[in-house]
């Protein structure tokens, strides 16, 4: 395995370099005026340990993205607290980074300039950082595309560039909001492998949101299954499959299949509730689930 050029300063202060601990305590979030308010997150509590990759999965429109905005500090909870490393979250911080659903790369910057955005914003355009940017460019397979603008990259490349742009900041917490949504099946698979490798190497506390159960099992240390809106944690499933993982082995693993059946059953229940409320997305899910169960 090749030596990773990680800036010394970061290595020193981030030791043991696993990132932060997150405690979400009885958090609720409502939108709208008093009396007409719609509660999206209700009394939601969970803890994410240092260096843990927690994948959150739940029916579409269940309030997952709201939870992300709360964790990132873009919005404040209506009640309850979010505590990261003993500090109350009151706004966005450099310690937490969000990778958004669709690309949020800056279109007017080259791949390299996008990756170096964070370090330059903090006045850290040092030789170490530039070397780290090189390493990341290699890791995500974009070394030949450093001078290209985002519009000149494919969908998968854009996602990889965005991962690199986040990772160079060595955040204590990484938050990924359905980062591989909308990619075709092959690209998605490839992206999951890229991401899993990066995670194994630069292990940090990570909060990963998806609607794809296979993706969740392939990546997660732990899966949180969310209820229908107003959302809270329905179940927490530990995924103790050895790392580095291999997508083929997982398909054949009994343990993975057991987790999958358990998770799907829970998700199905939540989708039914959502369906009863008239959600189109839930109807799709139920149909897909029934087909799968009938086949097996």
């Amino acid at each position: 395995m090749q030596e990773i050029a990680q800036p010394n300063s970061l290595r020193a202060n981030a030791s043991p370099s696993l990132g932060s601990q997150i405690i979400v305590n009885k958090v609720s979030k409502s939108y709208g005026a008093e009396g007409f308010a719609k509660t999206v997150v209700q009394n939601c509590s969970f803890t994410i340990e240092r260096g843990n990759l927690t994948v959150m999965i739940g029916p579409s429109g269940c309030g997952k993205s709201t939870l992300i905005r709360l964790l990132a500090g873009f919005e404040r909870p209506t009640s309850g607290t979010i505590i990261i490393d003993d500090k109350l979250v009151t706004g966005p911080g450099v310690d937490r980074l969000v990778v958004f659903q669709e690309t949020a790369l800056f279109p007017w910057m080259s791949t390299y300039d996008n990756i170096m955005y964070g370090p330059r914003a903090r006045g850290e355009d040092t030789p170490e950082m530039r070397a780290f940017a090189e390493t990341l460019l290699q890791k995500v397979g974009l070394a030949a595309f450093r001078k290209k603008y985002p519009s000149q990259l494919s969908g998968g490349m854009q996602r990889r560039a965005e991962l690199a742009r986040s990772m160079i900041n060595q955040p204590n917490v990484m938050i990924l909001d359905e980062p591989f949504r909308g990619l075709d099946a092959m690209t998605k698979r490839l992206m999951q492998e890229y991401y899993a490798n990066l995670f194994d190497e630069f292990r940090r506390t990570t909060f990963f949101i998806t609607t794809d159960i296979d993706e969740a099992i392939y990546l997660a240390d732990r899966i949180l299954i969310m209820t229908n809106i107003p959302t809270q944690v329905r179940a927490s499933i530990e995924v103790n499959l050895p790392r580095p993982r291999n997508a083929e082995n997982i398909t054949e693993s009994d343990e993975a299949n057991a987790i999958k059946m358990q998770a799907l059953a829970l998700l199905h229940e939540e989708a039914m509730k959502s369906f009863a409320r008239g959600s189109k997305a839930a109807a799709d899910f139920i149909e897909a689930y029934s087909r799968r169960v009938n086949k097996e």
Partner: protein, 282 residues
């Protein structure tokens, strides 16, 4: 020398292209229609409506041939160009910061936008009399009206461009540790740049339309001091040709304005493309 070869290849491709020939055919057909229509009374004994009143392109071409050898025509063209540049430049210098300020500050927007929106629909030409009264010289009056022509378009485009910036860019920048100044410089400015280019390209066209009319109405600005009657700019030149009954010169003057407007817009578009390389295709 490589770029020269590339440019040569591009030009060769362009000339052999279907697009190019379609354009040539259209222009030639238009000129024939015009020439025949203009001479319809003597050719067919029936005067075609409208087009028979216009001097034929051959006569206009002849007039233009003499015109481009006349220094006073170039003084006119120079004066109009200068006024366009002054007004346009002032509109950029005032309009871009104003638009950005209105987009960035909610308070400033609340104060300035209503006034701006009341003034915006007033046609620049309606400002001509007031402008002549307000400004000490004719020259300044014309430049001011020209300024107004581009100003509102530029401001509206800057505001629109800044307001449509994806909120995730700000969230991403902030969570990576950007200061407010850094966000302004590295996010807002480049994000608004394409809208500025659009505003400027449209604005310069309006500026040409306005300067010519302003010159006609105000009697040619510094006409008395520079080069006699022809010193008043292209607008005054056309008006003067009308008064003197030289219809070929009217059309020749119109065509020179069309060419000047086209060149200005094309130059701005070129500069704009160079400034926004990320919008290029491929």
């Amino acid at each position: 020398m490589n770029w020269l070869r590339t440019a040569g290849t591009k030009a060769a491709l362009f000339i052999t292209g279907e697009e190019f020939w379609r354009g040539i055919v259209a222009i030639v057909a238009f000129l024939i229609f015009w020439e025949v229509g203009s001479r319809s009374a003597s050719l067919f004994g029936i005067a075609f409506p409208w087009v028979s009143q216009v001097p034929p392109p051959s006569a206009v071409a002849l007039a233009m041939y003499y015109l481009i050898q006349d220094p006073s025509f170039w003084v006119s063209a120079y004066l109009s160009t200068l006024r366009v540049f002054e007004g346009f430049f002032a509109a950029m210098v005032v309009g871009i910061p104003l638009g950005l300020a209105m987009a960035v500050s909610r308070t400033f927007y609340g104060i300035s936008f209503p006034v701006f929106e009341i003034l915006r629909p007033i046609p620049p030409l309606a400002w001509v009399p007031a402008s002549i009264i307000f400004w000490p010289t004719q020259e300044l009056s014309i430049a001011f009206v020209t300024f107004l022509g581009a100003f509102f378009t530029i401001v509206i485009n800057v505001i629109g461009g800044a307001q449509s910036i994806d909120v995730r860019y700000f969230q991403a920048a902030r969570s990576m540790g950007s200061s407010t100044w850094d966000i302004f410089r590295r996010i807002i400015l480049p994000a608004v740049l394409p809208s500025i280019v659009v505003g400027a390209t449209v604005g310069v066209g309006i500026t040409w339309a306005v300067v010519v009319a302003a010159e006609m109405i105000s009697g040619g600005g510094s006409a008395g001091s520079v080069g006699g009657a022809a010193g008043g700019g292209l607008g005054f030149f056309i008006w003067n040709s009308y008064v003197g009954g030289s219809y070929t010169q009217i059309v020749a003057g119109m065509i020179s304005i069309g060419i000047a407007g086209y060149v200005s817009s094309a130059a701005l578009r070129k500069v704009g493309n160079l400034m926004t390389p990320w919008l290029a295709e491929g």
